[in-house]
């Protein structure tokens, strides 16, 4: 590190830090050295440990070293650092912090922000003269690629930083980042080659085309710990074709976890999602700490919690707030600012506060219900106790009794440092189609060039020539058509360059970028004026005028819908419907599932030996005793299956503890396999612990066939045959169709005509399935079902595990503590092997009874 320390840049920066009595952390110095060496890589550090400065100050050092004499006066240096961040809200604070440094150093760098909120005037200014640092979201980066002559913008760029990469990795926005990087890397090289050619007076620039190895661009990801850190780095650096380095901070935060235990476990509900009965116990925690964040898993429940806390402790009024994704941006910003200044005693929030700037006053975090994964739990815990040596304090509040076992499992997992991986997405045709159209609205693209870039990305490295041709065909001729009666128009080919020439189509596409969120949302406004937030359209559509619902902590009476806005007035009614927002139902992670199985095992063996275990497991004793009496508590190497008959029909409960998605898939497959034995129709329900098949006839599962029913053989074929994959694909198709540009969401000023372009994803799904079954987007929907919805890899692992374990069949005479939460869960799916007509006839008979 000698070399770095001798440089002017290093001296300038460390001198500046010294004024504030600060010294660089080792990982920061390490990163600066790598940046000075032109390396790329990944910085792994928890939030609040100065990870922003690791890359940003590195970039400043680099600049100062390149201009040691005039770094203070040098203006208009062009874009130096592109800072990609997943959240708009983060941009402002990071920008402020950067500006502070620039000001202190007396430099001329400008810091720009580019996202959906950036004003048109500012964008134009940026186009004329790019600031030295541009803080941008993945969507806005793509919009930038949709501008004419975008390549010029990136010519001076030295570093691309991707902040909170762990949040983007594994999502389609992460794929957008990959594509953005690949284009910037190549466009820099292309411009560079051209300049070389001019210098060397050669006529054909191709002769001296630079390769990625010549690229002077550095790429730096900044990420919290994930299970697949190596892969996280590889995904980012793929387009550079470089190995890169991982810089780890050695700072570790101490975490204290405490469960909130119901006074009488016998009276605490066996099932539920809300945990509101324990609200009383939350009040003293709030009162004893400076500021408390209360994490609730869904927006609907957070509304209920907010109300409840105010009801039982009216003193909190004015010092407690609500924060979730459907609340008006302004209100959210207000909450965030007051969190900063310490004016709030408590905030009830959802994943909306998972990310984002640090709120120093936060001393305590309460997690209500299962956090579903170790990483998420850690991240939330980390929101408290912000100075590097403070302890993070998190309380776990169970929403039903069995969840206490999850708390014990979490503690164990954290002790053993088991963190989930975020597998990156591969071959997303929808994002690719959107990207190609984006390039087509700017300077156009040449397929042979882009294909070369694509197979250098992680996401599309396995894209075959054939698939590529299908995609080009899709965007240029729109698939299946009636030649002379077709007027399909989107991307046109001109001298081998793919372009969108219609201004109207280009404008629509521009509005379309960034629509990676799907469910159609409706604005909610007061009839007297004033915006409250957004709510899912399907929820509003079920309301009658006069109905009262809760949003943003207020009771609102629904008046009418006009132009995609729901108008409401204030209501004093005591009763109200709490909206349930779809989505946000994360499955239990594989790691946590495994820990949970181990926990049950530990509990049952300690019972036999009369040993003490964790407090959470001790208080659950009555529940375990009942479960043991009625059925059994499964050991780590056992799979428990319970068969119970009630007035609803015949139930089969299975407990793999693999998360709701795997259970949904397994339920479908099991139902299909059983239905091959006899024609039978099921409906099923599942939660994170297990699933249920319910039928109106006895379910033929016994110890003669049970291992075969859980066999990993023919898994793929059985998945495809289980009717449900169609239904699951139909749901996935909504997202895919929106991103791929099949669903037109309309834009201001085009209301009337736009109505004639509306169709539901479900209808499009039917039409494609019947008339163009090999459509790439349709295929992608099915692939996504396999990869994400079914978590095929995890499913297969589970089946192998089950084959190697004991399957235990019990026949309890009534519902057990284990099955109860599943029974109550209302999300149900159908699967049938009976002929449609027979099924309908039987349903009719039931109707008539």
């Amino acid at each position: 590190m000698k070399k770095l320390e001798a440089t002017t840049g290093y001296k300038v920066i460390t001198d500046w830090l010294a004024i504030g009595d600060r010294k660089p952390f080792t990982f920061q110095k390490e990163t600066w050295q790598h940046i000075a060496d032109g390396e790329s890589g990944l910085v792994n550090a928890p939030t609040g440990c100065g990870k922003t400065f690791s890359v940003f100050l590195g970039s400043l050092i680099q600049f100062i070293n390149q201009h040691p004499n005039d770094y203070k006066t040098k203006k208009k240096s062009g874009l130096q650092l592109l800072w990609i961040t997943p959240l708009r809200a983060l941009a402002k604070d990071i920008g402020r912090a950067m500006e502070q440094v620039i000001g202190d150093l007396d430099m001329q760098w400008r810091i720009g922000i580019r996202n959906g909120d950036t004003a048109l005037a500012e964008r134009t200014r940026q186009k004329k003269q790019m600031p030295e640092v541009l803080i941008i979201t993945p969507e806005s980066l793509h919009l930038l690629l949709g501008q004419k002559e975008y390549a010029q913008t990136f010519q001076t760029l030295k570093i691309i930083a991707i902040d909170e990469w762990h949040e983007l990795l594994g999502s389609k926005r992460g794929v957008q980042v990959e594509l953005g990087i690949s284009r910037i890397v190549s466009s820099q090289l292309a411009v560079g080659s051209w300049q070389l050619a001019v210098v060397s007076q050669q006529s054909a620039p191709d002769d001296c085309r630079l390769t990625t190895a010549d690229c002077s661009l550095s790429i730096w990801g900044i990420s919290a710990t994930v299970g697949n850190l190596e892969e996280a780095k590889e995904v980012l650096l793929c387009p550079l074709q470089k190995e890169g380095v991982i810089v780890k901070s050695n700072m570790e935060k101490a975490i204290e976890i405490e469960s909130i235990i119901p006074d009488e476990i016998e009276k605490y509900p066996w099932a539920g999602h809300l945990g509101i009965k324990l609200a009383e116990k939350v009040i003293p925690i709030i009162q004893q700490s400076r500021t408390t964040l209360i994490f609730i898993n869904t927006r609907g429940m957070s509304e209920t919690w907010y109300q409840k806390l105010l009801d039982i402790c009216p003193d909190l009024a004015g010092s407690i707030a609500l924060h979730h994704g459907s609340i008006d941006m302004e209100l959210r910003t207000w909450v965030e600012e007051n969190l900063h200044s310490g004016n709030l005693k408590a905030v009830v929030c959802t994943a909306s506060l998972d990310l984002g700037v640090d709120f120093r006053p936060v001393e305590t975090v309460i997690q209500v219900g299962s956090p579903k994964g170790v990483a998420r739990f850690l991240q939330r815990a980390g929101r408290s106790g912000h100075s590097p040596d403070a302890v993070s304090k998190i309380f776990f509040l169970p929403t039903h009794s069995l969840e206490l076992a999850e708390a014990a499992a979490l503690k164990q997992a954290i002790k053993e440092k088991i963190i989930e991986s975020r597998p990156p997405m591969i071959l997303c045709y929808d994002v690719l189609i959107q990207y190609l159209n984006t390039l087509a609205i700017s300077d156009g693209f040449r397929p042979e060039e882009i294909y070369k870039e694509l197979i250098n990305t992680y996401c599309y490295k396995d894209l075959t020539q054939k698939e590529w041709e299908q995609i080009l065909y899709f965007i240029s001729s729109g698939g299946n058509a009636l030649q002379q009666y077709d007027e399909y128009k989107k991307t046109e080919i001109e001298d081998g360059v793919y372009k969108i020439k219609s201004r109207k189509l280009a404008m629509r596409h521009r509005l379309h970028i960034g629509t990676i969120v799907s469910e159609s949302m409706m604005k909610v406004k007061f009839i007297s004026g004033g915006y409250i937030g957004v709510i899912e359209e399907w929820f509003i559509s079920r309301l009658q005028p006069g109905d009262v619902f809760t949003l943003a902590g207020r009771n609102l009476e629904f008046v009418m819908i006009k132009e995609m806005t729901a108008f409401v007035r204030k209501s004093n009614s005591k009763k109200s419907i709490v909206p349930s927002w779809q989505g946000g139902r994360m499955p239990l992670s594989a790691n946590l599932g495994r820990k949970l199985r181990e926990t049950f095992d530990r509990k049952s063996s300690s019972r036999k030996q009369n040993q003490e275990t964790e407090i959470e497991l001790e208080v659950l004793e009555p529940l375990f005793a009942l479960q043991e009496k009625l059925s059994q508590v499964p050991k780590q190497n056992e799979l428990l299956i319970e068969q119970i008959e009630t007035k609803d029909g015949f139930h089969l409960f299975v407990y793999p503890f693999e998360g709701r998605l795997v259970h949904e898939a397994m339920a479908a497959i099991l139902a299909y396999r059983i239905s091959k034995i006899t024609p039978i129709t099921f409906s099923f329900a599942m939660n994170d612990y297990g699933f249920e098949l319910l039928s109106d006839q006895p379910i033929p599962v016994d110890d003669t066939n049970v291992y075969e029913l859980f066999s990993p053989d023919n898994l793929l074929i059985d998945i495809q045959r289980s009717v449900n994959s169609t239904e699951m694909a139909r749901r996935k198709f909504r997202d895919v169709a929106v991103i791929g540009g099949l669903i037109f969401q309309g834009y201001p000023g085009e209301k009337k005509k736009a109505r004639h372009l509306q169709s539901s994803a479900s209808l499009l799904f039917n039409v494609f399935s019947e008339y163009e079954p090999d459509n790439v987007l349709l295929r992608q929907a099915y692939q996504e079902v396999l990869d994400q919805q079914m978590e095929e890899v995890r499913l297969r692992d589970m089946l192998h595990r089950i084959q190697a374990s004991n399957i235990i069949l019990t026949f309890p005479e009534r519902l057990t503590p284990f099955c109860f939460p599943i029974k109550v869960d209302s999300m149900r799916e159908d699967l049938s092997s009976e002929k449609l007509e027979d099924r309908v006839r039987r349903m009719q008979l039931q109707l008539e009874k």
Binding site: Y485, E487, S683, H756, S832, V840, R842
Partner: protein, 218 residues
Amino acid sequence: MTRLLSHIIHDEHFVISSERTLFWENQRALIVADLHVGKTGHFRKSGISVPQSVYKDDLHRLLSQILFFKAEKLIIAGDLTHSVANLEMDLFRKWRNDFPMLDVHLAKGNHDILDNKWYAEANIQVHNDPLEIGRFSFIHDISDADETPNGPFIFSGHVHPTIVLRGKAKQTLCFPCFYFTNTFCILPAFSRFTGGYRIEPQRGDKVFAIAEKEILAL
């Protein structure tokens, strides 16, 4: 194979077909609603690549229904076309010209926004007011009809009705359907590129669901 079911209203004989049409025997008239001709074209022109074969198939189905019943008259209860003119409508006109003897009536719907000239050239009689034949009347949107006691029985479209069947163990299925009350009928949308609206029948109403190739009387 087309499934058929006969149904009698005001002593007149009608045949319900699983291809989403209704045939009136006495008048030798095929009754349909919501063809939405040009919908795929309209989407494609705007860069949304819906397969055009849906439209082709719709035309084929209409053709085979006309031939099957040997219909002399085609009554459309509104929404023949989807939006502004495009080439797909030319194909429809060409198709129409292959049946010069077929008498085509259109009870105008909210999507029928083409110039009068177009209908005239396509030899289609457009009815802005309800079309009345004997004790029967045709209109696009039933909510625009003046229902009078002892008035004509009304055929309509517009709604694209679907029906949800529920069974034990919380099973559900959803199908397009014909919806009959004592005074009116709502036909299913003929085009397969149409969404649906779930109807909730009252006591005494009759619903005929179309489950793939089957007709189910409920």
